[in-house]
Symmetry: none
Amino acid sequence: MAYALPMPNEPDPARRNLRAQRAILDAARALTSEVGYGALTIKAIAARAGVGKQTIYRWWPSKGAVLFDALLAESTDAEGGPNLPDTGDLPTDLRTVLRAVVAELADPHADRLNRAVTAEIQDDEALAGELVRRLLRPQMDATAARLRSARAVGQITEDADVEIAVELLFGPAYHRWLLRTGPLDAAYADRIVASALAGLTPR
Amino acid sequence: MAYALPMPNEPDPARRNLRAQRAILDAARALTSEVGYGALTIKAIAARAGVGKQTIYRWWPSKGAVLFDALLAESTDAEGGPNLPDTGDLPTDLRTVLRAVVAELADPHADRLNRAVTAEIQDDEALAGELVRRLLRPQMDATAARLRSARAVGQITEDADVEIAVELLFGPAYHRWLLRTGPLDAAYADRIVASALAGLTPR
Amino acid sequence: MAYALPMPNEPDPARRNLRAQRAILDAARALTSEVGYGALTIKAIAARAGVGKQTIYRWWPSKGAVLFDALLAESTDAEGGPNLPDTGDLPTDLRTVLRAVVAELADPHADRLNRAVTAEIQDDEALAGELVRRLLRPQMDATAARLRSARAVGQITEDADVEIAVELLFGPAYHRWLLRTGPLDAAYADRIVASALAGLTPR
Amino acid sequence: MAYALPMPNEPDPARRNLRAQRAILDAARALTSEVGYGALTIKAIAARAGVGKQTIYRWWPSKGAVLFDALLAESTDAEGGPNLPDTGDLPTDLRTVLRAVVAELADPHADRLNRAVTAEIQDDEALAGELVRRLLRPQMDATAARLRSARAVGQITEDADVEIAVELLFGPAYHRWLLRTGPLDAAYADRIVASALAGLTPR
DNA sequence: GGCTAAGCGAGACGGTACGTCTTGTCTTTAG
DNA sequence: CTAAAGACAAGACGTACCGTCTCGCTTAGCC
């Protein structure tokens, strides 16, 4: 017979203190951008949030998960979803997307948080998957969809490799950000779009 | 005028024990691929290498620097430099390069080391610069040079944006590796080359 | 006005774990008598006590302070205070005291702990003061009081130098123990008392 | 057949560098009185002496042995041996001895070295024996001899316990020094002599 | 007068304890 | 009766020193 285990006390999400949750994510975000990923500690987050450490451990499995949620909260605030503009003009629409991506990566306020999460996902595959699923995938899928709609109306060639095209757009920006190999500005976004589109446009 | 600093005892590189140095880099590489970046400790590297911790701290300023040197040693062993093939056929040459890049990223043996260094450079800008200067930049420059030589003989269009073209080639592969968004194989490398070249080829 | 200091987090004695405290003192005592003062380490004490090192550093400023408390705990257990017997017969009473002192110094179980603390107080004046105040002074004062009461009833001469008399009693025993210059037994205690009293006794 | 072992290279005392030896003892003495026993390191002694660490390890088995030799060198310089005065007047002679002992213990220059050696001999019985044999024993024996010569001429009682009498003289001074329980001056020395002699003097 | 063996200054080495820091769990206490 | 505050066990951090070793350089004494 199965019986009620004296369980490691799964906390009851219904009783979660939203004020504390928000304070924790805010503190995590603020501290990350102040001291950087390497010097970030759970203790400091708890202290800044005016919260006991246990309250963090109760709801998140790791420091990376807190950072991820902090990043997610910010992104969710900013966007409402992966709404891609469709003005009918593909180059313009892609420039809009790429400029937004590049601007986000160039934002000094968010930079350290982005890098902290990037560091964490190198060692936490589950977190990496979650990040892709929640933030990256929707954006890439929306971009792919926009490319397919453009292909349907003949704005790009029939045999265009849409999957690769999306990576041709996003890959360079992330590469440059990751390795700090050059400036991240609107002009750069436009050059990516121009070069990536060159091979797609019917002659 | 430069003057003799009352320095905190810079160690004398001439007296460096090469056996120990090699053992440290080997241990760092092996341990990283065994336990991953998060669980990697200087203490464990020293123990595995049969070396005192101080011998590591004497020659490297941080764990990241050790990992970087371990990565560098491996790359230096493998290649002799950024020799890019020049068969005269640009697509073939680029496929060779991209396939090598993708293979390196897909190599499970090196994966954790690559990710560990990637995590470290998020928090250590100097290390990031060194990595780019020593490993990435030469490869990118060589690729750019190959593209310019192709442009000179008319294999790609006169107005091709070489700098962006290089990022169009490398960016997608790193993006896919960083975020684990898809398989990294020769076919993938070929697709990148095909799509990136499409816009460069004269019609 | 006294004000709340932004203190480096003085720990709260009310929350102290008594089990841990006791385990630490026991481990310190046991290890000292096993390996001696020179080979004694905080790390080993913590390990033996099943305690984190920080729990030692939280409550004691130095290894010497731990040893001192270990010694104190033992002494406090043994005695209830500096109760000196007063049978009315001074030589008998002093023999009782000196025999106890000599027996304590001769006890092989306590020897290494005594020597460890003796070594520590050579380099830590504050600790030396504490040791004297808590352990030596009471005993010496009690002995002086007993001598004065004997003087009051004419058992020793009017002009007896009580302060020196006390040192004449204790000094030789400690000297012999410190320098291991001879046996420490009851007969030795009796010889000290006899010689020291000879000059005090009225003729 | 016995043959010359490739021995752990006993060093050849004939080739010993006296300048280095002296510099080491001087440095040990100076550093001890500057930084105290706890902060004294072989490394620092070597550096101060302008000597390699190995030169110390070649000639002394331990830090304690170096300190002991430093102490010995100083004492040997000062005295030529345990010459006790014999003016014919015992109290005067003993006052001379005790005043010298007390002055040595009170000397702030030598204090830390004395305490360092005292700390070392708590953990090194062989060193303790050597100290007693070379420095303490001669002085005590000379004092005992003086007391016996006094006894022979009837200046002290026939049944005087000479061995204890010596400890009655030296014990209090060392006790007071060891535990810092009071001032060490000539008046104190005189009080010891007066009290100790009181019981020895024929009535 | 040259050879050679040893002592020497210097300092890198393998170890290990130091005292501090952070982690994740457990306990106390104040609201 | 909850959650902050924080003590706890554990163990890595980066530093310091230990005692050994390996370098060249100097020096002494035997050929």
